[in-house]
Amino acid sequence: MSKVLDAKVMAVLPVAPETYYMELEAPEIARLAVPGQFVHVRCSNSQDPLLRRPISIHMVSRPKGILALLFRVVGKGTELLAQKQIGDVINVMGPLGRGFTLPLPGSRVAVAAGGIGAAPLVFLVQELANMKCQVTVYLGARDKKNLLCDGQFVQMGAEVVIATDDGSLGFKGTVPEMMRRHNDWRRTAMTYVCGPKGMMKEISAMLAEADVPGEVTLEEHMGCGVGACLSCTVKIAHHGQITNKRVCADGPVFPSWQVVWD
């Protein structure tokens, strides 16, 4: 089930360069959401920008009825979102899409996050922690300043290993480069990946090579967000056949080995 509702902004604050954390009062959505799903957000009441913007569910607090988002300002829509103030009302649809496949309780799992890709993984790691899984987070960012959610992951009991492009914190290099030096993820029940396309593609190849399962979260420009318009398709290979799947309704989470990267 999915809802469309006017949610009140309960908090909005900058947490890194051009990156904002926002809390919305949306009890129905918080109640229904599972990790990996997203909401479709109307950033203004004007007809410019016209479309909603898809933003992952970063975290929920069911007791408080709170839905949390973490987003980077990249254009008009996210700019308007960042300008919202406490008490403003935002129209939100969700939860949408299919979330991550959860492992058996107590499993050992890996999580790979790049940049703003950390956003949906916090909700996931929280759920994994609740399931007593043993989680290693491979967390990457451009630099120390842009590193997101490290504290949250640690607090949830995950082991966090960090890579920055400029070496200002942790390993100097990319997340896939760092992962090549580690072996833990090769022996996990699942590796969950969210980050830039290049990173997800590279890790998917590594997972395939190591013959371990993984899931990636894809992005495409969206119209409806509910599977009706076929704007957001990606190529998915299944049993040797390549078909168009909708990121909004069939994803955004897909098995890493099924994605046809271009």
Binding site: V4, Q47, D48, L51, C229, L230, S231
Partner: protein
């Protein structure tokens, strides 16, 4: 007193004039969580072809000022799949279902129409001769009176279902096309499909859409669509389903006053999944406020 909202589009009896624009509402089910689709006068479902199609390369959608460009390219599971998997669902609905059809050749349109003829759950056909997003067929048929008439005639001969022909605005004289289609036996017209447009990514220095060009829809095109309905209303006697940028009841009333008997909501569904019902409720409120007892009194009223 509740005003009478019922209208008929060439044999498709609608309990009210509000329907959905093909391709923006899937097969209806997708909007189930947000609205009771049985309240609509009809739903027009995604463009269907004889064989399944995978559609165009991505990106397929880009936002433009007050509009969107799309180049979906008629991705659909094909007519057999529709008949087998969707039609039984259509038959359970308390609203009319109109299937939007496309073909590469005149013969394909006819075969498709024949296949859908008599299928329970299907109330009518909307013949898409105006899709800007496919190489063969599509807009090419709708750009010239002769080919538009040919398709119409072939479809009419192949089916007993009401045949509504969907016109393209990308022509010099839409009235001329409408007349040709009327003469060929169409039961109604849908006005309009998308405007041909494109966007360029100035960083990559390449077209944004995988398919280069796309169809422009949304509020941006509303003035063009109202004009197209106005012109078609003057050109022919056929009932018109008006569409193009309808977001509110006021927008819908512009189309009705210009000559549309029914209205379809497209792109606005993406922004507001309740848009169809907001339009319906707003039309009803307008009628009540202005003591109009029957919506049909308003059709084309701005011409008088």
């Amino acid at each position: 007193m509740k005003p009478n909202l019922a209208v008929t589009i060439g044999g498709v009896n609608m309990k009210n004039p509000v329907t959905t624009a093909s391709g923006t509402f899937g097969f209806g089910r997708e909007y189930g969580p947000y609205i009771d689709i049985n309240r609509l006068g009809a739903i027009v479902v995604k463009g269907t072809t004889l064989e399944p199609r995978e559609g165009n390369a991505t990106p397929r959608l880009v936002e433009t000022p007050a509009g969107i460009l799309n180049s979906i390219g008629l991705q659909n599971p094909g007519a057999d799949y529709l008949v087998e998997h969707y039609a039984p669902y259509f038959a359970t609905l308390q609203t009319r279902v109109i299937v939007n059809i496309s073909g590469n050749t005149v013969e394909e349109y006819a075969r498709l129409a024949a296949k859908l003829d008599g299928v329970p759950g299907i109330a009518g056909l909307e013949v898409n001769i105006s899709c800007p997003n496919v190489k063969k067929g599509g807009m090419a048929f709708g750009s010239h009176p002769a080919t538009a008439a040919q398709v119409t005639k072939a479809v009419k001969q192949a089916t007993a279902l009401p045949v509504i022909v969907k016109l393209s605005p990308n022509v010099t004289d839409i009235g001329e096309i409408a007349r040709a289609v009327e003469a060929a036996g169409a039961d109604g017209l849908s006005v309009m499909n998308t405007l041909l447009g494109m966007a360029i990514d100035v960083r990559k220095r390449k077209p944004v859409l995988g398919n280069i060009m796309g169809g422009l829809s949304g509020p941006a095109v509303k003035p063009v669509a109202v004009r197209a309905v106005w012109q078609v209303y003057r050109a022919v006697k056929l009932p018109i389903i008006g569409m193009g940028g309808i977001t509110t009841a006021e927008d819908a009333l512009e189309f009705i006053l210009a000559g549309a008997t029914a209205v379809a909501v497209g792109t606005a569904n993406f922004v507001n999944p309740r848009a169809t019902l907001d339009v319906l409720e707003g039309i009803e409120a307008y009628l009540v406020e202005n003591s109009i007892t029957d919506i049909k009194e308003l059709v084309g009223a701005a011409h008088r």
